[in-house]
């Protein structure tokens, strides 16, 4: 991953933290003062490198893991904002990425009943008895990162 792509990736993540959403390629091209196709190519390279995840056949950011920008049942309150985690792991990853506290509201995959977790000072102080299940072995996670 070259320095330019790292810069673009950093810009996307910092924009996510600042604005709660990822920048479009148009917004990033304006911020960098570069043609939009150059930024779109960088987004695609970052997707191919698993540094971002784009919605299929677009340059719209679906995931800047652990942050998710599509529908998912894992809502995370952290750093004064509500976020979405793609999966159970990513949801816990949001307070971890912030090195801060967080509350997660989600559901039991079996019955749909609400479940709640809370991270304080890095420790899980609520929801510790819940289970997390991973269906696919690790080397298959990137076959379909939306289904693991």
């Amino acid at each position: 991953m070259d320095a330019f792509d790292l810069d673009v990736r950093r810009h996307v993540y910092f924009s996510v933290v600042a604005n709660g959403r990822p920048p479009s390629t148009t917004e990033t091209s304006e911020d960098f003062g570069l043609p939009e196709p150059e930024i779109a190519d960088a987004y695609r390279r970052l997707h191919d490198a698993h540094a971002l995840v784009l919605f299929p056949d677009t340059t719209d950011v679906w995931m800047a893991n652990p942050f998710c920008f599509g529908p998912a049942p894992h809502r995370v309150m952290a750093r004064g904002r509500e976020w979405t985690g793609t999966c159970a792991w990513d949801a816990l990853g949001i307070p971890a990425a912030f090195h801060g506290d967080g509350r997660i509201e989600s559901e039991c995959a079996c019955c749909g009943d609400p479940v709640a977790l809370e991270v304080s000072d890095g420790e899980l102080v609520r929801g510790a008895a819940l289970l997390v299940h991973i269906l696919l072995p690790a080397r298959r996670w990137w076959e379909d990162i939306g289904f693991t």
Binding site: C110, G127, L131
Partner: protein
């Protein structure tokens, strides 16, 4: 990767969907993994983590064996 309320709910969920079981962690263990895995994600000098470093994180948490092999 999903949350489940109990072993009973896990078994029912797998049966209902006709899925083979994968791996189950406590939410506490997943939080422990998350701290290590995601803790550098917002660093300004972030670089892609080589697979062997990611594998080492899993091993430090005690996640070893074929299921947890990244490559």
């Amino acid at each position: 990767m999903v949350y489940l309320r109990s072993e009973e709910h896990l078994e029912r969920w797998l049966d209902d969907n006709d899925w083979e079981p994968g791996a189950t962690l406590s939410a506490s263990k997943m939080n422990e993994l998350s701290r290590e895995w995601w803790g550098t994600r917002l660093d300004s000098d972030w670089r892609p983590r080589p697979p062997d470093e990611s594998q080492a994180i899993l091993e430090r948490i005690g996640l070893t064996g074929e299921f947890w092999q990244l490559v």
